[in-house]
């Protein structure tokens, strides 16, 4: 039985942020101003809508197939100290030894008796046809996080976003080893309602040939003594039509548009049920591009916009590390 952990290296030099982003994200602006020691001015956030044409050649559907349609638990990770891509084999060996030692200590480990952990980089990703069942997968990634790279010294490697699929006990053990070895720190990445709304709007804005899933929102109502969940599913074509009616600035998504999009949904709901959804807590959004839960769980459904989704998540991870 094999299990793999596959740290993704940073994308190749061709995918520079300037190729894909027009206008700095609020995070980039903040970092810039901190370095310049200038006063901080809040500007309305804008983000470029992921354009699939520019990104398609970077993403091989075959290679990334194993990433899609799986639920990933998200973590932010502080920069790794003295991590080297040339030592991956050595790291694999050390990690395996560590797990064996933990098992002997009596610590519960999900992996079976006969296991093997491999740490590989992007170019060595296994194809889907490999023998053996993959029990646990974790990947380190950084998409357009160059702003963070600029702020740390040469000894550090920035891979701020970590995604894990598999038993949590495995995640814990493997995470412990990385933390010990590279003096870094994992932290679960929660996604608040504000960012969930952004995701819903951005992913609704993505142009799709066909929709594989309905667009759905889930709210949790803080009423006592019983909990109440409200799910609002809307046909993806209708969601797109609503977005198109709200959207004004070509090529960009603005805060005002996100707010208006959500307000339209709240208003439509209130008209029928007299309930103010804005007074409740948004916990999950789901579209044909991806779905995200406030507990930091994500599922990516569409390879075309994979980079865009990862870019946004990287930004959230960096924000949490700051």
């Amino acid at each position: 039985m094999d299990s793999y952990s596959a740290p993704e290296s940073t994308p190749s030099a061709s995918s520079r942020p300037e190729d894909y982003f027009i206008g700095a994200t609020p995070l980039q602006k903040r970092l810039e101003s901190v370095r310049k020691q200038s006063s901080f001015i809040l500007t309305p956030p804008r983000r470029k809508i992921p354009q699939c044409s520019q990104l398609q050649e970077d993403v091989d559907p075959q290679k990334v197939a194993f990433l899609l349609h799986k639920q990933w638990t998200l973590y932010s990770l502080t920069p790794l100290y003295k991590f080297s891509y040339s030592n991956l084999k050595e790291y694999s060996r050390l990690l395996n030894a560590f797990i064996v030692a933990e098992k002997q200590k009596g610590l519960a480990v999900e992996v079976g008796e006969d296991f093997n952990i491999k740490i590989v980089s992007k170019s060595q990703l296994p194809s889907e046809n490999r023998e053996g069942k993959v029990l646990w997968t974790g990947w380190f990634c950084c998409v357009f996080g160059d702003s963070l790279l600029e702020t740390v010294s040469e000894d550090f490697t920035c891979l701020p976003l970590f995604l894990a699929n598999g038993a949590e006990s495995n995640t814990a053990i493997i995470g412990t080893w990385f933390q010990k070895t590279f003096d870094c720190y994992f932290s679960p990445l929660a996604i608040n309602a504000f960012n969930l709304s952004w995701m819903a709007a951005m992913w609704t804005a993505c142009k799709m040939d066909h929709y594989v899933a309905t667009t759905e929102f889930l709210w949790s109502v803080p009423c006592s003594p019983q909990s109440l969940d409200i799910s609002f599913a809307i046909h993806p074509e209708d969601a797109k039509a609503l977005w198109d009616s709200v959207h004004k600035t070509p090529g960009e998504v603005t805060q005002e548009e996100v707010d208006l999009f959500m307000d339209c949904l709240y208003s439509h709901f209130h008209r029928h049920f007299k309930i103010h959804l804005s007074a409740t807590r948004l916990v999950r959004v789901s579209t044909s591009v991806a779905s995200a839960h406030t507990d930091g769980k994500i599922k990516i459904l569409c390879h075309k916009y994979l980079i865009g989704v990862l870019a946004y998540l990287t930004e959230l991870a960096i924000f949490q590390i700051e």
Binding site: T214, V221, P222, C223, S224, P225, Q226, S227, L228, D229, I230, S231, F232, A233, I234, H235, D238, A241, L242, S245, V246, L260, D263, C264, S267, H268, F269, R271, H272, F273, K274, I275, H276, A279, T280
Partner: protein, 280 residues
């Protein structure tokens, strides 16, 4: 027939406007159809009244009949009296027992009799005056006398805090103007919620589903989806370990408006929890 009864009926009938007289007499149902037909209602009122008294004497009207006529008159002319409402409640620790109408009537009667006795005792100074006082009060309305006394007795028993504030547990030391505005709205919400859901435990239900095909109508910005003819296709699901209790708590919590939407409140009545909603 007692002359006081006759006087009582006479004074009651004199109060009734001519255009209402036949209606009220019919509602009273004491004088028969035949008897009423003998009366010429186009005469002067005094003559009509005299004729009616004569008919009542024939039928031997009692004080109860006279009182009933008074009550019926009161029902038609409620606005001429000031009514007060009293809430009956049990103290803390007391059991809630089933309501026995008969027993209630008996207790109530006894209290009234006691109150009336007290009223007479307090009011009496001179035997003659008392009798006259009683007589005039007796003729105006027995109910009115008793209720006046009744009010006073109860007012001293209850605490002086207004009923609303006590039941909501608010701090009455705050600025009274601020409290009052809030109380009115909170009370309204409580009342409507109670009217909608009742005081009893709600039937246990775990989810409700609505398939909506309705057009988008924006209050905020009229231009959004204005040209779109097609409705928005939505599926809404409410789920909870105890859905109706949860819905009941929404308006008091400020999360929903009161009254709640009929789409939700009709669930127990219709015994349905799958709905399809379309524009008309």
């Amino acid at each position: 027939m007692d002359e006081t009864v006759a006087e009582f009926i006479k004074r009651t009938i004199l109060k009734i406007p001519m255009n209402e007289l036949t209606t009220i007499l019919k509602a009273w149902d004491f004088l028969s159809e035949n008897q009423l037909q003998t009366v010429n209602f186009r005469q002067r009122k005094e003559s009509v009244v005299q004729h009616l008294i004569h008919l009542c004497e024939e039928k031997r009207a009692s004080i109860s009949d006279a009182a009933l006529l008074d009550i019926i008159y009161m029902q038609f002319h409620q606005h001429q009296k000031v009514w007060e409402v009293f809430q009956m409640s049990k103290g803390p620790g007391e059991d809630v027992d089933l309501f026995d109408m008969k027993q209630f009537k008996n207790s109530f009667k006894k209290i009234l009799q006691r109150a009336l006795k007290n009223a007479l005792t307090i009011a009496s100074k001179h035997h003659q005056i008392v009798k006259m006082d009683l007589r005039s009060r007796y003729l105006d309305s027995l109910k009115a006398i008793v209720f006046k006394q009744y009010n006073q007795t109860f007012e001293t028993h209850n605490s002086t805090t207004p009923l609303q504030e006590r039941s909501l547990g608010l701090d009455i030391n705050m600025d009274s103007r601020i409290i009052h505005e809030n109380i009115v709205e909170k009370e309204r919400v409580q009342r409507i919620t109670q009217e909608t859901f009742g005081d009893y435990p709600q039937p246990q239900l775990e989810f409700a589903q609505y398939k909506l095909e309705t057009k988008f109508k924006s209050g905020l910005n009229g231009s959004i989806l204005a040209e779109r003819e097609e409705p928005l296709r939505c599926l809404i699901k409410f789920s909870s370990p105890h859905l109706l209790e949860a819905l009941k708590s929404l308006a008091p919590a400020g999360i929903a408006d009161a009254p709640l939407s009929p789409l939700l409140t009709c669930i127990p009545n219709k015994r349905m929890n799958y709905f399809k909603i379309r524009d008309k």
